[in-house]
């Protein structure tokens, strides 16, 4: 095995790293110019003598490793791609990364299946009626210019997923050149409410959470081991937390209505009536006050009335558990209280989050386990964050027929917009729709022009993570191999071409995005702390490490969460007609469904149910017995917006008044591995929004269920024993008073 350090040893080898990068960087142009004769073994024209005259960056039989950045989610883990004979084989973690320290999640590793996916779009496609027709890039660019001709900036909009770094800069420049301010950034499962609540409580949207320094973590539905913010980073913190500060093992208490992966790892999992997380938080503050913790006047006033009896009654958490929890929080400090998407997905989500953050303040955690995070000193590169509020505005504008040209990139709202928005119908009202896409997903299928993108393993880029693990960092994304398909282009290259259509002079020095990126980074070399190094060395070092670590200034943390304006509604009354809360769950491996076409992920058993390749409805066994439902019964789940059908799975980790269906499946497009597997709960989500941020209240949809009279076999890994060890000594456990962790290796 060759690790990244051995790459340096290769320097003495007749192997020129810079040439390799140049070839890769220029490959698009090279293929276009020469057509063939490329030394590539991966350009689809493999020759029998290839290894006799292999390109000089290929050492037959020897794997080389290049650092880059994982593009499967926004956490920005730094990766190390294993490449052999010019093909990328495996993505591993970059050990030098503060974010993931050499580790990776399953979703991240599946990035190679994004790259090699057989269903990638390979040619620019122009809509001809119901069909797409292949056209050349030149024609495609000309068409865009033509469509933009005489169109005012107001009539153009760009809908994007989260973007950061130089791509964001270039995107901004392009829109500016069009005179448009209409950049809509939309991420279906973004922590938008959390950002707002954090900003209020701590003065920063995304502070650092030090799980590893906490003795108790009380999480209100924050699935930090699964899908929340930066799961690989938090998983490592969690492992340290379990080993404990001074040998005392950290205690995890999870409060939620549907068990998440994090909940499954808790020492105490407290099931609450959906939406009452804030009430529980205030109840804990009240009880802490009663047990002698000093509360400021306004806090004391705010929690008045949240006595144990009432809180227990509202939330369903027993007084006994409340007492134990309060005692634990009081005794073991510092602790850390987290508000996750489960607590925030309500019309009063911001209030829930505020109440939970207030608990941190009361416990004195701010400044200890919650710290200011470092930030990148280039505001234009900081991620553009997405939320559903932005999508809602766009949707309203589309409905009003405002846009003549609409660009979409890295987001799939036709699949993820709540059904109640009728986004697909409104999208049709846009004049000319251009989708920059890797696959024909639901949104690309609605476009008039589809432009095929390079995969993240073929493209150049920079990325700035929203959540900074330690110091600030800029992540480098670089090609790990030559392009798989001759006619795809990098998003940066496309934007550069487009912006050149408007302002050719300004960008004439940049032959391509690689040049742009290199040039831009070199100009800020000084600010990046490498003022003294010469350009080539700086550039080589940057590419070799894949991370630019910045001294970075820490943001200011304000520990002044106040109880002002805190107004929690009473626990929601039962809805006679739609008696269940629908919890659309976000899984670690499928998230919002953009990677569902990666077979490793489809076949990766859901950790809690072990189901693969399909959707399911989680229902509590007692409730199921009441309704005569058994595993595999197909249920019709109807909301006021619509209905879907999926198989029942009896799951003890859910509140009996709730059912849960995972997000991410139910594609009608996206290729062979995604299309036709499962159902899409986004389709039946009601239009209920958080009152403060305007963010979609993901958990506010109420549903009713009925059996349709069909029963199917649930495809899962768990066998007939239902995950009970049946008295066999298999998965054992001991309680903390039986072990001596400090004596362990």
């Amino acid at each position: 095995m060759i690790d990244s350090s051995s790459i340096k040893q290769l320097a003495g080898h007749p192997f020129d790293r810079r040439d390799f990068l140049k070839v890769l960087g220029w490959s698009g142009a090279a293929v276009a110019l020469s057509g063939c004769g490329n030394t590539s073994i991966e350009n689809g024209k493999e020759t029998v003598v290839s290894y006799v005259e292999a390109a000089d960056y290929v050492i037959p039989g020897v794997a080389v490793y290049y650092n880059s950045t994982c593009a499967q989610c926004d956490a920005g883990c730094n990766i190390n791609g294993r490449v052999r004979e010019g093909r990328v084989l495996k993505l591993e973690g970059n050990a030098a990364s503060a974010i993931n320290r050499g580790k990776m999640c399953g979703l991240g590793q599946a990035g190679v299946q994004h790259h090699y996916n057989p269903d990638r779009v390979r040619e620019p496609l122009l809509r001809k009626g119901d069909k797409g027709e292949t056209i050349s890039w030149d024609k495609a660019y000309a068409l865009i210019a033509e469509k933009l001709n005489g169109v005012s900036g107001e009539q153009v909009a760009f809908l994007s997923g989260a973007v950061s770094g130089h791509l964001k800069v270039l995107l901004g420049n392009y829109l500016e050149s069009l005179g448009s301010k209409n950049l809509y950034v939309y991420e279906a499962v973004a922590p938008a409410v959390q950002r707002a609540a954090n900003k209020k409580a701590y003065g920063t949207e995304m502070p650092r959470f030090n799980i590893n320094k906490a003795k108790v973590v009380l999480s209100f539905g924050a699935d930090f081991l699964g899908s929340w913010v930066s799961p690989v980073h938090f998983s490592q913190q969690y492992a340290q937390f379990r080993k404990g500060v001074d040998g005392q093992r950290g205690v995890l208490v999870q409060v939620e209505s549907k068990m998440t992966l994090t909940g499954a790892n808790a020492d105490r999992w407290l099931v609450v009536r959906p939406g009452t997380e804030g009430i529980l938080a205030l109840g804990i503050i009240n009880a802490l006050g009663a047990s002698g913790v000093t509360l400021s006047g306004d806090v004391a006033a705010a929690v008045q009335g949240y006595d144990k009896a009432r809180v227990s009654n509202d939330t369903g958490v027993s007084v006994e558990h409340l007492d134990k929890l309060v005692a634990l929080l009081k005794e073991r400090t510092p602790s850390l209280v987290l508000a996750g998407s489960a607590a925030e997905g309500y019309a009063h989500g911001s209030q829930n989050a505020a109440a939970i953050n207030l608990l941190n303040q009361v416990l004195g955690n701010v400044g200890k386990t919650i710290e200011a995070s470092a930030s990148v000193p280039f505001p234009q590169m900081i991620p553009a964050k997405g939320n559903t509020a932005a999508l809602k505005t766009l949707n309203d504008d589309l409905a009003a027929g405002k846009y003549k040209v609409l660009f979409t990139y890295a987001t799939n709202p036709v699949f993820t917009a709540p059904g109640s928005m009728k986004f697909k119908a409104n999208l049709a009202k846009a004049g000319f729709k251009v989708a920059f896409a890797h696959y024909l997903d639901e949104t690309a299928l609605e476009a008039d022009l589809v432009l095929p993108l390079d995969s993240a393993l073929e493209d150049w880029g920079t990325q700035v993570p929203e959540y900074m693990a330690e110091g600030a960092q800029i992540n480098i994304q670089q090609p790990l191999m030559e392009k798989l398909h001759a006619n795809t282009q990098g998003m940066g290259d496309i934007l550069l071409t487009l912006v050149k259509q408007r302002e050719a002079d300004k960008y004439k020095d940049f032959a391509d995005y690689y040049g742009y990126l290199r040039g831009s980074l070199l100009t800020i070399k000084g600010a990046l702390g490498s003022g003294g190094t010469d350009d080539d060395t700086f550039w080589d070092e940057t590419l070799t490490s894949g991370i630019i670590k910045l001294a970075g200034s820490a943001e200011q943390l304000s520990g002044n969460a106040s109880a002002a304006g805190l107004q929690l509604p009473a626990a929601a009354a039962a809805d006679a007609q739609y008696s269940f809360h629908l919890i659309p769950s976000v899984t670690a491996y499928l998230r919002d469904g953009r990677h569902t076409n990666q077979p490793w992920l489809q076949e990766s058993p859901d950790p809690l149910t072990t189901i693969v390749w399909d959707s399911w409805v989680e229902i509590h066994p007692k409730k199921a017995a009441e309704l005569g439902i058994v595993e595999g019964d197909v249920l019709e789940v109807s909301s006021r917006t619509g209905s879907i059908r999926a198989q029942a799975y009896l799951f003890p980790g859910i509140h009996p008044d709730a059912i849960s269906i995972p997000l991410g499946r139910g594609h009608e497009a996206l290729g062979r591995y995604a299309k036709g597997y499962g159902v899409n709960p986004f389709q039946i989500l009601d239009a209920v929004f958080d009152q403060e941020t305007g963010e979609l209240a993901l958990h506010e949809t109420r549903v009713k269920i009925s059996k349709v009279g069909q029963r199917i076999i649930v495809v899962k890994d768990e066998g007939a024993a239902g995950g009970k060890p049946e008295q066999r000594r298999i998965a054992l456990s001991k309680s903390t008073d039986q072990v001596k962790l400090s004596e362990e290796v």
Binding site: I713, E718, G719, A720, A721, E726, Q727, R728, I730
Partner: protein, 454 residues
Amino acid sequence: MKDIREDIAWAKINRDVLVSLENPRKLYWVIVFGALSLFSVGLGCEIYQYQVGMGVANLNNPNVWGLYIATFIFWIGMSHSGTLLSAILHLMHADWRKPIYRFAEAMTTFSLMTAGLFVMVHIGRLWQFYYALPYPNDRGTWPNFQSPLLWDAMAIFTYLSSSVLFLYVGMIPDLAICRDNLHKGWRKKLYTLLALGWEGTDRQWRNFRVTYLTIACFLIPLAVSVHSIVASDFAMSQQPGWHVTSFPPYFVAGALYSGCAAIITLFIILRYVFRFEDYMTKSILKKTVRLTFAIAMVWTYLNAVEFAAVWYGHDMDAKAVLIQKATGPFAPFWWGMVFCGSVVPLMLAFKRFQTNIPVLFAVSLLLNLGMWLERWMIVAPTFSHGYYPWVWDNDQWPSLIQWGMVMGSFGWFTLLFMVFCKVFPSVSMYEVKEMVYHRSLHLKKNETAGQGAH
């Protein structure tokens, strides 16, 4: 009731048996056609499985063995009665074996050949089956002599070759009769070749008897060991429900049992199809039925011993398998086995059923069904309820491909058997003559004694 009429003329014996080689009843052809069709179904299934992969059998992890192994044991078991009983009865001078031993031995040979097919259709890489044979090769590889499967391969191969030899040697005098009595044609050539120049000289008879006796002596321990070794495939493993000391005798009893049941079935069919009513008499049938009943009770007893040993033992995992057999998804089949294997044979205790041909035919089929279920109930439940609960899985129903091959094996066996009976004398002519002769001597002695007393 007599085992055989003493007054049958030797010439008639020859005629009756030889006619079976040429002119059976119509039903014969119906059976052959049916068998051929069944075999074709099985063959089609195997071709499909070979092309696509074992997955089409709907086997999985942990259910890696299925009907193929169950049916393999079934056919191995079936093979036992023929040769083993023939040899034992021969040594014990039980002359009522004489009219029926030939087809019983043929049954042995063909059921072994059928069992062998299941080894082939079971293994994932049929084309590499010879890796399991110990032959010197330049890769320096040998099979693993520790594996019961290897013992199996050797035991079965030895048993098959010895059984063929036993069958063949016992047939030599009859082949000579065929040679001498049949018209010219390929058959005559075949008989001439196989009869090895049999003249019926004293020396030939002497050598013949010694050879036949020696093979019979050799076969008895061999037959016992074969099914003991098949039992070792399970008993030597570590799995709950298989790791049972009493498995070898239990398997041997089961083997004799199913073999006897099969003899009854075939007895009835041959008797009708080839018009052997004079030779395959109800009296002989009755003796066979009584023997079957005795073995059924031994088998029942050994079953009870096994269940009791598990029930009172400390191996909780084995107990769990037993409970699952009786109450889980396999319960209908397991109770079916108990019913067919232990309850149905009680009918054989009643005299009036012991010679009732329709009843016996039905009973013998049920007994065989029970014995097939027994094998399946040994194999499948342990897989679906082993040591490791995470992989417990009872939903794996064998696919039509597996059933198709099980059916096909019955077709294959029947086909071989029916062709044999048409080509070779399925009743031993020379031994029936001996039997008639001895009985008539006995009769004469009685008569003389009677006269003397006068």
